[in-house]
């Protein structure tokens, strides 16, 4: 009977009394799963994250099953005891040490088409303008009392780039990685909700009706040279961006060279699927109630919303600023696509443009600042990491 009662004490039901807030996080996980399945909101992200939240918040007491039960693996000054590390902690290794995000960038590069950017390079500046949101949020986080490394990790949410947010928080603020990742991916899923009101507020009807000229033809050789030259340029100026930008351009070269189609296929299919599963699941599992449900998490969610809004606004306003000097005007809506939520942000821009004029096709134009934003957010992360690590 003693054995039976000991077993009862080890169950999640018994441990719930010590961790009652786990129930709240389990409800959050179920909510994410429902959003993914019923509403089809970013299912490839929210379902693994949601299930990870369920796994991470089962109250297991002292059994050492969580992502943080790593037996001293990687801890400075501690001896690693393999038997004490949980399986989840091994899977979480890729998040903790920033391994998964560069692999995701490899897949993103292998599926990204830079043609629209190559045909109209000035749209690159809209991607740069949207990254202003990162640095304004950085200052806001400092104002709210976060340290500089934590503020930088929070600010990067404004880049609307999940892998970059995870990469930078793993480097600068691993203790905030859970809420930052959840905030970043949540706001990415809510792009169609967050961006349109800002777009309508900061543009006039006349501006939204602007039609842009079709892009020029881009040769295959340009598409081969761009990742090579682009990588060398970015890496020499901002070496901190090397892991992310390097993998992005490497993946793109695999695609555009046409001689490594097998590798490009693997990168944009199997590899990115595997890493997405592991990353989403373990990020979700890291949101244990004791770690996640704090006032800092609430501040992070608030700052994340500010970051997103400011980034969208900066892209829109910079497009309007560029129009002061351009003969062929830009439709300022495409500035909102400077956040690197590819391709959702470009789709939102296209939809808003079509609402005003069904014959106005902004999608391909919006893809240019959209992919530029991916590069821009990686550079911003590299700059912050270089300075604050």
């Amino acid at each position: 009977m003693d054995i039976f009662f000991d077993f009862l004490q080890s169950t999640g039901f018994a441990n719930l009394f010590d961790e009652p807030l786990s129930l709240l996080m389990i409800c959050v996980g179920l909510f994410f799963i429902a959003l993914a399945i019923i509403k089809n909101y970013e299912p490839l992200l929210l379902l693994p994250i949601g299930f990870g939240i369920l796994v991470g918040n089962i109250p297991f007491g002292d059994m050492g099953l969580g992502v943080y039960d790593n037996g001293g693996l990687g801890e400075a000054g501690e001896d690693f005891i393999p038997g004490n590390a949980s399986v989840l902690s091994y899977l979480y290794f890729g998040v903790r040490y920033g391994i998964y995000p560069p692999l995701i960038f490899l897949g993103i590069g292998a599926m990204t088409d830079f043609t629209t950017l190559l045909s109209n390079p000035k749209l690159m500046l809209l991607g740069a303008a949207a990254q202003i949101g990162i640095f304004i949020t950085f200052l806001g986080a400092l104002w709210l009392g976060f340290g500089a490394p934590q503020a930088a990790a929070i600010g990067i949410i404004g880049g609307a780039d999940g892998p970059t947010a995870i990469f930078l928080s793993a480097k600068l603020a691993p203790e905030l990685l859970g809420p930052i990742a959840i905030a970043a991916y949540s706001y990415m899923a809510l792009v169609p909700v967050i961006q349109p009101p800002i777009m309508y507020a900061l543009t006039t009807k006349k501006e939204r009706l602007i039609r842009m000229a079709p892009p020029r033809e881009v040769s295959q050789r340009e598409k081969i040279l761009f990742p090579l030259i682009g990588f060398l340029l970015v890496a020499f100026i901002a070496p901190g961006a090397l892991p992310l930008v390097g993998m992005l351009f490497f993946g793109n070269l695999l695609k555009e060279s046409t001689v490594t189609e097998r590798l490009a296929n693997t990168a944009r299919n199997s590899l990115i699927d595997i890493v997405t599963i592991l990353l989403g699941f373990t990020v979700g599992a890291s949101t244990q109630s004791g770690v996640f449900l704090t006032t800092d998490s609430l501040k992070i969610f608030g700052l994340g919303a500010v970051a997103f809004g400011v980034a969208t606004a900066c892209g829109l306003l910079f497009a309007k600023f560029m129009n002061l000097f351009l003969k062929e005007k830009l439709n300022p809506l495409i500035g909102a696509a400077g956040v690197s939520a590819v391709p959702d942000s470009a789709r939102v821009v296209h939809h808003v443009g079509q609402t005003e004029d069904p014959d106005n096709y902004l999608l391909m134009h919006a893809m240019a600042p959209n992919v530029a934003g991916v590069i821009g957010s990686a550079i911003a992360a590299g700059v912050l990491w270089s300075y604050l690590s």
């Binding site: 992200l45 599926m111 088409d113 690159m124 295959q220 391709p343 911003a380």
Partner: protein, 127 residues
């Protein structure tokens, strides 16, 4: 769990409020923005001169055709091809940050979407 609130800041420098710390870090923020702009501006300039670089490397790089088709086509087909490529690129990218593209049915959807976009753009150009 350690907190990173004003208390931590005050412990480091009791005289400084969060606002003071933020003001002190404005130069870092401005520098970061300028670096991002500089790098992307240089990239844009590089792209602008890329056709000239391509001409210089012609003897070594393979002859290839862009997604937009051969030169010598009219502007309408170039624009239509661009629209088709853009739609196909976006459809193929899917939820890029999640990363996983679609299965066979979705590949077919991409081709259909690209064809529709090409026809609509040609019609618009012809108006």
């Amino acid at each position: 769990m350690a907190t990173f609130t004003v208390l931590a800041q005050l412990a480091a420098d009791p005289a400084k409020s969060g606002l003071d710390v933020a003001i002190d870090n404005i130069p870092l923020a401005i520098t970061g923005i300028l670096i991002v702009f500089t790098v992307l501006s240089l990239l844009a300039l590089t792209i602008k001169i890329l056709p000239k670089i391509v001409d210089l490397t012609e003897p070594w790089l393979p002859q290839g055709h862009g997604h937009h088709g051969h030169g010598g086509h009219g502007g309408a087909s170039k624009g239509a091809a661009a629209a088709a490529a853009g739609v196909a690129a976006v459809a193929g990218a899917g939820s890029v940050m999640a990363g996983t593209p679609f299965g066979t049915d979705a590949a077919e959807d991409q081709r259909v979407a690209a064809a529709i976009a090409a026809v609509m753009h040609k019609q618009r150009q012809g108006q």
